[in-house]
């Protein structure tokens, strides 16, 4: 338990899934090496480490690769105990896992749809995104009533704080680029305050990709999507 492990993360700077892993490792105080992948020209190493999906992030610990960001996050939590990312009782853990899956399943598709659409389709995707956030807000309020701390997890950030928080700069960029309102204090006050608390941490500020880079990336994606849909 005492010896330091050799930890290496293969990722792409603009991938929020990779940001999740950076955040988790840093919150646990784990020293690691980082390898930036060119997703248009993936390294032979990456393809060997994640032959099934051929994607980032991949976390390699003492030579053993772990892929899929959700899986990596739980792995990190189980390998380095403090600070914990999950509650200790089975029911609360089940609820955290439920909302993590919900976020991945229901949040991602409408956000992609917003980026690539206009007019009626954009309106529909925006409504869906807002509705999903509303369900998440209600669910988190019911399952994790305010404890002694500014985070969903309590006095330190947990799995949901990391996942919801890390997604936020992207959401903000999408709002700006598509000219829509997605995440406001009025609509989802609890989530808003949790995300604000998380993003205010110095560790988080020093880890997340600078906003202007995120904005540029989203701008480019939207431009490409809209121009290809005109053909």
């Amino acid at each position: 338990m005492g010896e330091a492990k050799q930890v290496k993360l293969y990722g792409f700077s603009l991938s929020p899934y990779c940001t999740l892993v950076h955040l988790a490792l840093k919150l646990k105080g784990v020293a690691y090496e980082y390898v930036e992948e060119d997703l248009t020209n993936k390294s032979a190493t990456l393809l060997q480490l994640n032959p099934v999906h051929q994607k980032v992030p991949v976390l390699v610990v003492d030579g053993k690769p772990v892929a899929e960001s959700r899986v990596i996050l739980e792995y990190i939590d189980e390998t380095w105990a403090e600070p914990s990312f999950l509650p200790s009782d089975p029911y609360s853990r089940a609820r955290v896992r439920f909302w993590v899956d919900f976020f991945y399943q229901r949040m991602v598709p409408p956000s992609y749809a917003i980026i690539r659409s206009q007019g009626e389709e954009l309106e529909k995707a925006t409504k869906e995104f807002i509705e999903v956030l509303r369900i998440l807000e209600k669910g988190i309020m019911e399952d994790f009533p305010r404890k002694k701390g500014p985070f969903i997890h309590g006095s330190s950030p947990g799995l949901l704080d990391i996942i919801v928080g890390a997604g936020n700069p992207g959401t903000k960029a999408i709002e700006e680029v598509a000219d829509v309102k997605l995440f406001t204090e009025e609509m989802t006050p609890q989530l808003y305050s949790y995300v604000h608390a998380f993003l205010s941490l110095d560790l988080v500020k020093n880890t997340v990709v600078p906003y202007d880079q995120v904005l540029e990336a989203i701008k480019e994606r939207r431009m490409m999507a809209l121009s290809s849909s005109k053909e």
Binding site: E68, I72, E74, Y75, R93
Partner: protein
């Protein structure tokens, strides 16, 4: 609730592989439970109450609360009743288990469902997709993370066996109903051997419905789907296909 807090109740559907996962896990843990059959096309008030977000089976009721999403339920069961663990103890092994659970539900199952709900060129593409996915599993069993093991969990059935096994019976059923080759023992010898071994286990035999019931059920759904015109199938039919994957 009137029942003592330790009692367990499962809301499920008899032909739903996710329900079977939970039933099998409870059986393997030697747990008594009450079972309530749900018509997943018309969810009961109880199901709407206990799974308001997805309105689907299975839902496990325990200690006055409900737990939903089959892989979440399996981990809950393992963490609540700690004898005869179904998850490995080692964090890396646990990560491998979770990875392949996601693979099963995000890649393999949808491809299998698509074989069932499509025809012509679309079906051929879906069949190819199933083969690609099975190849990956076969490789992992033969040379990778699960090399040399009887079950994914080792000598005994574990969580991944439960997740993969409860659903893989549809491969044989769809082969017959759709007249396609999905799980040819020559192409996937290790996977095929594992599946046969899994299905021979006592608790598994007690959980998975008889194959002729599944065949009849699948034929009925397929008939219904084909008799609808080219308009997109009702969500209930998609649910049937999806939950059959």
């Amino acid at each position: 609730m009137d029942q003592p807090p330790s009692s367990v109740k499962l809301l499920g559907s008899w032909a739903d592989s996710h329900t079977h996962r939970v039933q099998l896990a409870l059986k393997l843990k030697g747990l008594e439970f009450e079972y309530q059959e749900e018509d997943f096309i018309n969810p009961s008030p109880a199901l709407l109450l206990h799974n308001p977000v997805y309105k689907k089976v299975p839902a496990l009721l325990h200690g006055g609360r409900s737990i939903v999403e089959s892989v979440v339920i399996l981990q809950y069961i393992d963490e609540t009743w700690t004898d005869n663990p179904i998850m490995p103890a080692d964090p890396f092994e646990r990560a491998v288990t979770r990875f392949w659970c996601h693979f099963t539900d995000d890649k393999l199952a949808p491809a299998v469902g698509l074989v069932f709900s499509s025809s012509g060129e679309g079906q051929k593409a879906a069949v190819d997709q199933v083969h690609e996915n099975l190849k990956l599993l076969e490789r992992e069993l033969k040379d990778g993370a699960f090399k040399g093991r009887r079950f994914f969990g080792g000598d005994k059935i574990g969580l991944l066996d439960i997740v993969l096994g409860c659903g893989s019976y549809w491969l044989a059923v769809f082969e017959e109903v759709m007249e396609v080759k999905l799980i040819d023992p020559e192409s996937f010898p290790v996977f095929h051997a594992w599946l046969r071994d899994f299905e021979e286990q006592q608790e598994v035999k007690e959980t998975i419905p008889a194959i002729d019931r599944l065949l009849e059920y699948a034929r009925g759904i397929r008939q219904m789907m084909l008799s609808l015109s080219n308009s997109s199938s009702s969500s209930s039919i998609n649910n049937a296909a999806a939950s059959s994957g």
